[in-house]
Symmetry: C2
Subunit: 276 residues, 2 copies
């Protein structure tokens, strides 16, 4: 974490950025967050992230203690005070110091800045190994802090040699990963789920980029079988941008290397981000 943290209107040294143990995030896991990168001092897709953060708060009936304008200003101030050109910003909004330990009250708002470390060139070239895991996120459209299952299964993924899990629902459709969305390519068309997922900002912009590149996009459910038989598959997030999925539970996707559509999108992504 970078040295200066924003907490409820104050900029504090990170060591002093603390919440009392009465906070509902600590007692009840009740809170939301958002995360985005910044480069050359400019936050990436900040308006989309502000939209989503305010939307998550509304869906959980948490009252945002600052206006959108104030929060945008906070982001720029936090970047400035930390003095680094590159990084990631995380907002967290919690249920606050509830007198009864259950009912949300005035939320606590935190904004933290982190050094940014993305995947290596070798990882982009190799592609990611996926393990399919039966799980449905609760309140999928809310970017809540609930990562109980995602974190719990990390040792399992390691044991299986997988980089990430993709969550499979009770209809055997593949929805998303713990911190990423996913897409497949089939006969040149980019296909990605749209229902019951967290609407990733990177997902949104990758779809825009694809359309700009003349790639057809289809937003609809993707079954496990369809994923395993796809020509190409992509996992995407703010941290990784687009990466190829090259194996799914040891089944090779395509020829087990990043495919042509994935490569076109990966290669165009940094330019797209820089000009948007």
């Amino acid at each position: 974490m970078y040295p200066t943290v924003y907490l409820n209107g104050q900029y504090l040294p990170k060591e002093k950025a603390t919440l009392n143990v009465a906070d509902l995030s600590i007692l009840r896991g009740f809170g939301i967050f958002d995360y985005f990168r910044y480069a050359d001092g400019n936050p990436r897709f900040i308006e989309d992230h502000l939209d989503r953060f305010f939307s998550s708060a509304k869906l959980l009936d948490l009252e945002m203690p600052v206006s959108r304008e104030e929060l945008r200003t906070t982001v720029h101030e936090l970047i400035k005070r930390n003095g680094e050109e590159e990084g990631g910003i995380r907002f967290v909004l919690t249920g606050g110091y509830s007198p009864d330990g259950y009912t949300p009250t005035t939320p606590n708002l935190v904004a933290m800045a982190y050094p940014f470390k993305g995947p290596s060139a070798e990882q982009y070239e190799r592609g990611m190994a996926i393990h399919l895991h039966h799980y449905e996120r609760q309140l999928p459209k809310v970017k809540s802090i609930d990562y109980l299952e995602g974190i719990r299964i990390q040792p399992l993924l390691k044991a299986k040699g997988a980089d990430y899990a993709l969550y499979v629902d009770r209809e055997y459709n593949v929805r998303e990963s713990d911190r990423s969305n996913f897409m497949i390519v089939r006969e040149g068309i980019l296909i990605t789920p749209v229902e019951s997922i967290l609407h990733g900002i990177t997902r949104l912009h990758l779809l825009r980029l694809a359309r700009q590149l003349g790639i057809s996009v289809d937003e609809r459910a993707v079954s496990v079988n369809e994923l395993k038989q796809a020509d190409e598959a992509i996992i995407c997030s703010s941290i990784k941008g687009a990466m190829a999925i090259t194996t799914v539970d040891e089944v090779l996707i395509g020829n087990g290397k990043p495919g042509p559509v994935t490569r076109r999108i990966m290669e165009a992504w940094d330019g797209y981000c820089a000009s948007n």
Copy 2:
């Protein structure tokens, strides 16, 4: 909260009992807890609660930073330092200050004491109104801090005039409430779910008490229809002991008043707790 809090080996004034915003409970809702009452300075069923707390930690691969003996001593010390004869104790164990914001590390351990305020005599006499809600807790056997859905639906319960929700699974069986278990009485037999629920310590002891009173007990799934047609129904937790459920989504249970088996259990509970 009572004035003194235990945090990672220290007894602190509650205002100073804080966790850094890097803690995984705040960032990722990753943690477990337990709660029990104490009366006349004696913690109730403490060995059962220690069993469950250590079991929850193990299921999430969190390393308990103290031994069972040390934690038991902490409970007695916390009660003594707060100087009150009656109250409730909450343990919280979090994923700790994770360097990558995702992988659990050395946990933070908190123990807090609270004044105890149970339901009123009038509430015990009236019984509780229940709203059935479709939801399945993730990792039901772990007493995790995940109360996202339980808290989210509180305004809905209020709007419906319900005191508590009972969660209905995809097979239309009723599993549990957000912070309580439940039981029904049918032809004199006490029936309560046993699979895919949090095993409440109050549930455990109410079943023992019932057997002592000569009431037959059957631990098995209970469907929505069976609940609605039950002679009696009970909601139970450390805070409330046993309370009658008198309506379920506006359907009266029995004659809409606490029934004879429920009353026998309610009346014997305090004596059972005092002598166990």
